[in-house]
């Protein structure tokens, strides 16, 4: 447990608070010292821990894969190359099965999504106190109050991270929709379905209804994509924190939950990837 003088509520809140750097109405650009301060910063704040870990893990992923890609040989693959090729083939198969159009973007996009999210998720398996404590020590070394050094290790438990990705995917959905069907086709898809009649007057009446339904469907995609990943990981992290609070008995509990969590981690990364492929393939398909 981090700091024995904390109440459990404080402990949990401490763990769920991001390290925030932003524009405080009174303090200007500064590090937030408390949850309230972070809240007061509003939109003009950035979660330093989320950014650091996600970018770090993304760079790690790309570094490893680039390493293999550079010396990729057609001979007998060994070690890392084997692994990378397995991943690439797995993603390629998934894309081929679902996405029937032709796109140079979609397969690498899926690979990036899967590997990056998987790496970000897997940070969940690092004991919850380990890295935050380290951060507190380092913070204290730089003269900050350890109690106010917040550090959240798993980027996917930050809704900003997941929403950032899902909104990018959303932008791609819209881009592909418009590119395949044209702007008018895209608008028609939003307004002339699911209710359509041959009567022009009735159709005009139906347009707002259709638009409402289709907009909800459309907007539900990025939101559900982001919140599914965020919710799963946040809940998992929360349970890790709760387990970590019970002291000596945490080990027998921690282990099965971690094992179970391996499944969730992989599954969520896979689901995010698959849904991205499905959404994009829906966007590139012609009118149903």
């Amino acid at each position: 447990m981090a700091g024995n003088n904390m109440t459990s509520t404080e402990y949990i809140q401490h763990h769920l608070q991001n390290m925030t750097y932003g524009l405080h109405p009174e303090n200007g650009w500064s590090m937030a010292h408390s949850a309230a301060e972070a809240k007061a910063m509003g939109f003009w704040a950035i979660h330093v821990d989320t950014m650091l870990w996600s970018i770090g893990l993304g760079v790690l992923f790309l570094y490893l894969f680039r390493l293999v890609a550079k010396r990729a040989s057609t001979g007998v693959p060994t070690g890392l190359q084997n692994f990378v090729e397995m991943m690439v083939e797995f993603v390629d198969n998934s894309v081929r099965e679902t996405f029937h159009g032709k796109s140079r973007l979609i397969a690498p996009l899926s690979l990036t999504i899967f590997c990056w999210i998987f790496l970000m998720n897997i940070m969940d398996l690092v004991p919850v106190d380990f890295l935050p404590m380290l951060a507190q020590k380092i913070g204290a070394w730089f003269g900050a109050d350890p109690a106010h050094v917040y550090f959240k290790v798993v980027p996917t438990t930050d809704v900003n991270a997941t929403l950032g990705m899902s909104l990018s995917v959303f932008a791609l959905i819209i881009f592909y929709s418009i590119r395949t069907k044209g702007l008018s086709g895209f608008v028609a898809e939003l307004t002339l379905h699911p209710f359509s009649t041959s009567n022009t007057f009735a159709q005009i009446l139906l347009i707002p209804v259709n638009l409402l339904l289709e907009l909800v469907t459309l907007l539900a995609k990025p939101v559900s994509l982001a919140l599914r990943l965020f919710g799963n990981l946040y809940a998992g992290e929360l349970i890790f924190i709760l387990i970590a609070m019970i002291g000596l008995w945490q080990l027998p509990l921690h282990f099965p939950w971690a094992v179970f969590h391996i499944l969730i981690i992989t599954l969520q990364a896979f689901i995010f990837m698959m849904l991205t492929i499905v959404y994009l393939s829906m966007a590139t398909e012609e009118q149903h």
Binding site: R66, A69, N160, G164
Partner: protein, 156 residues
């Protein structure tokens, strides 16, 4: 869960990662995979071709072996025939030679016999004359009676 700039930062980072992956990671790995696939396919092809070649070669070798055996058999037969022929010829020659030798010996013997007969004839006439001379004790005209005796001797 307060939404803030992190969202945009994440979106940018995501876009950059995807771009990098699309540009520098996916194509080489994919290319290597496809090339390996092609190589393996080629290898399998070559292997099956080699097996077929091997079968053909084996067949050909068997064929050649069979042919050479046949040839050897033929040569052997010819040689045997030739040998028999030679033996036969030699035997014929020998027989002919023998007959010739026998023939010449026989004619020689005949000649000898004739000569002996001549000699005997000559001596018989002499003996007869001498005997007659003794018997008659009288002088007989040798020239006159010789003719008679010679005639007699020729009848022997």
């Amino acid at each position: 869960m307060n939404l803030n700039l992190t969202l945009i930062g994440q979106a940018i980072a995501f876009a950059v990662f995807v771009w990098f992956c699309m540009k520098y990671v996916w194509p080489p790995v994919m290319q290597a995979l496809q090339e390996r696939q092609k190589k393996i396919a080629d290898g399998l092809d070559a292997a099956s071709r080699a097996t077929r070649d091997l079968e053909l070669a084996q067949e050909k070798a068997e064929e050649t072996l069979r042919e050479s055996k046949e040839q050897a058999q033929q040569i052997l037969e010819q040689a045997n025939k030739r040998a028999n022929q030679i033996v036969e010829e030699a035997r014929d020659n020998a027989r002919a030679e023998g007959e010739r030798i026998i023939e010449s010996a026989r004619s020689e013997i005949d000649q000898e016999i004739n000569r002996a007969k001549e000699e005997l004839r000559a001596q018989v006439s002499l003996l007869a004359v001498a005997g007659a001379e003794r018997i008659l004790e009288s002088s007989i005209d040798e020239a006159k009676h010789r003719e008679l005796v010679d005639k007699l001797a020729a009848e022997l």
